[in-house]
Amino acid sequence: MRRILMSLAALVALAFATAQDDPLKVAFIYVGPVGDYGFSYAHDLGRQATQEHFGDAIETVYVEDVPEPEVEAFIDQLVADGADVIFGTSFGYGDGILAAAQRYPDVIFGWGTGISRAPNVLTYMADFYQVYYLNGLIAAALSESGDLGYVAAFPIAEVKRHINGFTLGAREVNPDAEVAVRWLYNWFDPAGATEASEALMANGADVLAFTEDTPTVIQVAADRGYPGFSHYASMVEFAPDHVASGQLVHWDTIYIDILEKVLDGTYTTTNLEDVDYFWLLEQGAVELGSEPGVPVAEPFVDDLREVVIDHPEFGEIDVYELVLERRDQMAQGRDVFEPFMGPLEDRNGNLVYEDGYMPTLEDLLSMEFAVPGVVGPWDNEPQ
């Protein structure tokens, strides 16, 4: 509490200081509370790591719980407060950011998960589809029934990518594996996530993955003794013996790269029209792990080692080795291994990518189909 007073005093002092000494002021706008243990929490971990990386060269602030249509009003306040760079982390901030960017041409904006840019607006995304593919390998090996469950927030292209990646991975280990999907139509809905998980387990699913903003699925699965996966950050604490692996994000890799280029003058308020970050394992923006540095939680390593499959590329290989092989391949680049590499059929039997076709960024961002093995309703599915 005293800190707030001191920072107020510091602000006053700053006003008297010379302009050159001002650190770059970077503001972050979050759609949820930083304590949500989901999307906003992960971004704030990234902000803290970024602040630490740059030390006195930048000053970061954040606002949380900002409703999407109110983002413009908050941008006004942040600019009035002297922000030089503003990151808005939610897709729904787009209209507001693009409008405010015209009004404040001297401010650099970043639109997280965004789809369109402007001279002073760049977009950025750390995408999980490769990691979900790896978790799919793990899930299929851990499942006794071959029935996997997936609790998903919204049927958006990003989540469809996740589910498809997960399913492709699962089928690489067990060609009969099926992934049943339940939609929450919500990012935050603890009761919904509970009942969706229970419905999946009642239908036979014995490993659960998810894309939504709470650790609910992990807790509910653990209650029944089934494994789950961390999402965004470590959720091991919520079910110490039941988190097998997971998808972790390091937004700081992207934030640091952007801000370095802002500080050295590479990025200006006039040349961001084509700056779009879509960072993956290769750039270290995402990581496979139940917690940072632990790709597969200890108790599950042996389980995975016991499952040995005859793999077309690697021959006889246990799944633990397979997971690490695939991870290292993808870390070298999409051209070394890409889960969605053609030929790829959707679950209705349409050939979506020809043999040898490498899906482009555009393909990934507009993914609508479901791969074979996905079970359940699927909005906007091509027939």
Partner: protein, 310 residues
């Protein structure tokens, strides 16, 4: 056929678990409204109960101590409403709304330090001895449930008995039906109403505690997520009858779980809309039948009592 039966049983089992907080809170609101007061602050009292329960259970390691704290928090919040709406005769609808807004804000603020950690000693699933092995009924209601779910059913039966077959129940109903007559008969109307409101708070507190101690053993800002409003609808849909509330709660719970298990067939938003439409429908139907003797809303529901003398 087997699959269908399994679906029915799991739906019932999950309906019971999900509807537990709804039932507790609705039972409280039924008593409040039976006494002639409306409290739209259920959501606010629930969330205060959820936070208080979590904080105490986390610090003490005892979830039942947490539940006591949740109950107390609900009572304290309800007392504010009782003071404003019953004693001061302020507009009770706005007072309830204010309680909800205030409760959501305050818990968000206080709860910041408690977010993101699981409860270390949550209430667990248990099987109820004997009843768990009954065919059909066992798997539907008595296997792998929370103790509070069964206590909720028990509370409904007890409340029904008290409301309809005891002098205390008569007193409560009389201040809701005809406060002037009750007053003339020597009942201290405001006092009874105030106590009814705090009882409602206690029950809403338990409902909130159930969320953070059993159902979702953790604390999250806004974790009640509208359940308080569904409970409010439930109290009315049950036509202020605790026994009917059991079936209404199971119906609402089944609709909610079915919105996930039947996603292939129904838009989930349309299924979750149903409880609210049902409530309006139930009110309309009772109103039509009211002349034929079916009982409806307490006569003096929502009307402050101001005889002007103590």
């Amino acid at each position: 056929m087997d699959v269908d039966l399994a679906l029915v049983l799991t739906t019932l089992a999950r309906a019971l678990a999900f509807s537990t907080p709804l039932l507790w809170a609705a039972l409280g609101e039924i008593v409040v409204e039976r006494a002639g007061v409306v409290n739209l602050g259920v959501e606010g009292m629930m969330i205060l109960g959820a936070l208080a329960g979590f904080v105490v259970a986390q610090s003490s390691g005892d979830p039942w101590l947490g539940l006591a704290a949740a109950t107390a928090a609900g009572v304290a919040a309800a007392a504010v409403h009782g003071l404003l709406a019953v004693v001061l005769r302020a507009n009770q609808y706005v007072s309830g709304l204010a309680l909800t807004i205030f409760g959501l804000g305050l818990t968000g603020l206080i709860g910041r330090g408690w977010v993101g950690r699981p409860l270390r000693n949550p209430m667990e699933f248990v099987d109820l001895p004997l009843l768990a092995s009954v065919p059909l009924l066992g798997p539907a209601f008595f296997q792998g449930q929370y103790v509070l779910s069964w206590l909720g059913l028990l509370a409904a039966v007890v409340l029904w008995f008290v409301l309809h077959h005891t002098r205390l129940g008569l007193v409560v109903r009389s201040v809701g039906e005809n406060p002037a007559a009750a007053d003339a008969a020597g009942v201290r109307v405001l006092w009874v109403r105030f106590l009814a409101v705090t009882f409602g708070g206690a029950m809403a507190g338990v409902a909130g505690g159930f969320l953070s101690l059993a159902y979702r053993p953790s604390w999250g800002q806004g974790m009640t997520n509208g359940l308080g409003w569904i409970a409010l609808a439930l109290a009315i849909f049950a036509l202020w009858d605790p026994l009917r509330a059991i079936f209404a709660a199971l119906l609402f719970g089944a609709l909610f779980t079915l919105s996930f298990s039947l996603q292939e067939f129904f838009a989930p938003q349309l299924l979750t809309m149903m409880p609210y439409l049902f409530t309006i429908l139930a009110l309309a139907i009772t109103a039509v039948r009211k002349g034929a003797g079916a009982f409806g809303a307490p006569e003096a529901l929502g009307e402050p009592y101001a005889r002007g003398r103590r």
